[in-house]
């Protein structure tokens, strides 16, 4: 093994010190009020679950095709609005999202979920087939194309979906809260549900990438793009499927997030930004990286809002920036990134 250059060593020591400080500080706060610590930790974990579902689609598309889909957040937002409209139609406007008053049957949530995800997956597929397929390898041009599409989608959503920010109603058969044995906490069930879905999505993607031929090609794509191109005509089918799955995951995130948080016109830029940060931290194209990145972002976001010293909690967004700079300073390609 070659020796570590002294500069890198200094940076590593510095980062170690920062992390140690953060750990001690959070530990001190946790000991002070363990109940809050657990709840905030769960807030962060469940948020991370949502981020992971969205970002995994983003990183999958990038890993295989080197396409940065800047319309990923727009797909997220579209799915939320599609599901919301459909749910209103199904329930005749009865299913208010309000706490304790959901009148939505299980189908009133599942059907919008499936339809919205498929619709958005299809939009992603059309996007890829109509605009991106002919520009393969021109990464910047593809990014610009998706930016243009995101601008158009945002404007059309504004024109066609009126009203204020709303929530999708969770099925009334879901419990509102679950009781934890710990500190007598009752915690929103749906947030836990999102976390479970995220874990399931992660395992499914992992199995797909490790066990299937499709996954083999995706893995090859992350390591060596030329090899993928050399695999023959089938590759167009693989690209199309990847885009479909990626967009589908954005849609899934949109419906989950729309139920857990809200369906909102600003969702597109917010979740594009979160996806970018997650994959920049984790490394583009890496599933494990997306998981780590989502965890880092979710936890920093949740704890920053609460644990910064009084008067400074408004600056928690800057912690995310610090995190980003820290990672990039040490690993320009992200924690799990590999050179293209």
């Amino acid at each position: 093994m070659s020796a570590v250059p002294p500069r890198t060593l200094a940076v590593r020591v510095l980062i170690g010190l920062v992390l140690a400080f953060v750990a001690v500080y959070v530990g001190y706060k946790a000991a002070d009020d363990p109940r809050t610590f657990v709840v905030v930790g769960l807030n962060g974990l469940t948020l991370a679950g949502l981020y992971f579902v969205v970002a995994s689609g983003f990183t999958l598309i990038f890993g295989l095709m080197r396409v940065v889909n800047m319309a990923h957040g727009s797909l997220y937002m579209l799915a939320g609005f599609f599901a919301l409209e459909l749910q209103k139609n199904l329930t005749g406007g009865e299913a208010t999202s309000a706490f304790g008053t959901s009148k939505a049957g299980i189908g009133d949530w599942i059907i919008p979920l499936v339809v919205a995800c498929l619709a958005v997956g299809l939009i992603g597929l059309v996007m890829q087939q109509v605009f991106l397929r002919w520009n393969q390898g021109q990464e910047l041009r593809q990014a610009l194309i998706t930016i243009a599409i995101s601008i158009i989608i945002a404007d059309q959503v504004l024109a066609n979906f009126g009203g204020v920010a709303e929530n999708l109603a969770a099925p009334s058969s879901f419990p509102e809260t679950v009781s934890l044995r710990l500190y007598d906490i009752s915690y929103p069930f749906f947030r836990i549900f999102v976390l479970l879905v995220a874990i399931a999505v992660g395992l499914a993607l992992w199995a797909m990438i490790k066990r299937t031929r499709f996954g083999m090609i995706v893995r090859a794509g992350v390591d060596d793009r030329q090899m993928v191109s050399a695999l023959g005509i089938n590759i167009q089918l693989v690209f199309a499927s990847a885009f479909l799955i990626g967009a589908f995951l954005a849609g899934l995130g949109g419906v989950l997030g729309g139920t857990m948080i809200s369906v909102n016109k600003g969702n597109d830029t917010t979740y594009l930004l979160f996806s970018l940060i997650v994959v920049i931290i984790g490394g583009m194209g890496s599933l494990a990286g997306a998981a780590i990145g989502a965890l880092a972002l979710g936890l920093v976001d949740a704890f920053g809002d609460v644990y910064l010293p009084a008067g400074y909690t408004n600056y928690s967004v800057l912690l995310i920036f610090a995190l980003l700079v820290l990672v990039l300073a040490v690993r320009p390609l992200g924690l799990f990134g590999r050179p293209a």
């Binding site: 610009l144 024109a159 967004v317 800057l318």
Partner: protein
């Protein structure tokens, strides 16, 4: 024997340029105060913001979405240091504030460039986008510096006069700045530094192998882009007389990208061509019920069409026309392909 097509091509290339210069020089006589200010002056400073991107993209192959954030840093720094409503209560001389704004912006550009310049292509694009959004959030959150309502009635040097009632001064200042930046960037392209940047654009690892310090070159280029963006930021605050986080939010970031792409990412002139198209379209479509009724959809479609049809933007199309006409005049079609702009795509 191929002299005549060259002459025609040159005439097509320089003719409109000369007309533009003449029209601009006499603009206060030709246009109303409102048009001079809200369309032309705005196009000049937006063009400066866009040219900082065009320079990075065309000369160094760095497509940055952080230029709006950078001009925001210059604008906010100045607005906070001089007399104004909101922000910190310092009341420096406006020139001093301006200088400080430019220096701080360039400094941040260099620092950020040091981090981001190790990333290339779309990685760089994404990192600068994240940077841009976080700068926006910073100013939205640190209310000591701005607050959501921003800094109003920012003091200006006397020479700027009142941009509403007496817009000619600011117009000429913006025109002079734009012209100076354009000429200097053109000149820079032929200097060792400029050539080295273009080498980095075309092949960074080859440049390393030749003995160049590529990260340093990219960092300096980013700093230079920040300097140009700082001019745009200062001018925008003088023009608006205010700055708020909303002045540098994501839609504004995309506006500058759209302007640069519509004009042509790989030619400096394109920045201002795109800016004038943008401001004219914007002003024209406001208050008019266009089909579908929405400016952003229109501009999004135009943007998409340009990216799909002509990666060189309007300047690229103009180049194709001059080439085409030139070939017609030559009568053979044997003139060599203009590879400069096409092959310069850093993809």
């Amino acid at each position: 024997m191929t002299r005549s097509p060259h002459l025609v091509e040159r005439a097509l290339w320089w003719g409109p340029g000369i007309v533009v210069v003449l029209v601009l020089a006499a603009a206060p006589l030709l246009f109303t105060d409102f048009y001079l200010s809200a369309v032309l002056t705005k196009a000049l400073w937006l063009g400066l913001a866009a040219v900082s991107l065009t320079f990075l993209a065309g000369y160094v192959g760095m497509v940055s979405l952080g230029q709006v954030a950078l001009y925001g840093i210059a604008g906010f720094t100045m607005a906070n240091l001089v007399e104004a409503d909101g922000g910190s209560a310092i009341a420096w001389n406006p020139w001093l504030g301006t200088l400080a704004g430019i220096l701080v912006c360039t400094g941040v550009g260099l620092l950020f460039g040091a981090i981001a310049s190790r990333s290339y292509g779309i990685y760089f694009l994404m990192i600068t986008l994240a940077f841009g959004v976080i700068v926006y959030l910073f100013f939205a959150q640190v209310t000591q510096l701005s607050g959501f309502g921003g800094v109003n009635n920012v003091d200006r040097p006397d020479i700027v006069s009142n941009p509403v009632s007496d817009p000619a001064n600011l117009f000429y200042i913006a025109l002079g700045t734009a012209a100076a930046v354009y000429v200097l960037l053109r000149y820079l392209g032929r200097t060792p530094f400029g050539l080295a940047l273009q080498g980095v654009r075309d092949d960074p690892s080859r440049m390393r192998a030749l003995g160049f310090n590529v990260p340093l070159l990219r960092m300096l280029a980013f700093g230079l882009g920040a300097l140009v963006a700082a001019f745009a930021g200062i001018l925008s605050v003088w023009w608006n007389t205010r700055i708020s986080p909303g002045s540098i939010d994501l839609p504004r970031t995309l506006d500058v990208l759209i302007i640069a792409v519509i004009g042509g990412l790989y030619r400096l002139e394109g920045a201002w061509v795109g800016a004038i198209v943008f401001t004219v379209l914007d002003n024209w479509t406001r208050g008019i019920d266009i089909v579908g009724g929405r400016f952003n959809t229109v501009i999004g479609v135009v943007f998409l069409a340009i990216v799909l049809l002509s990666p060189g933007g309007l300047m690229g199309i103009w180049q194709s026309i001059t080439d085409f006409v030139g070939r017609r005049f030559a009568g053979t079609g044997s003139s060599p392909p203009e590879a400069a702009e096409e092959s310069a795509h850093p993809s």
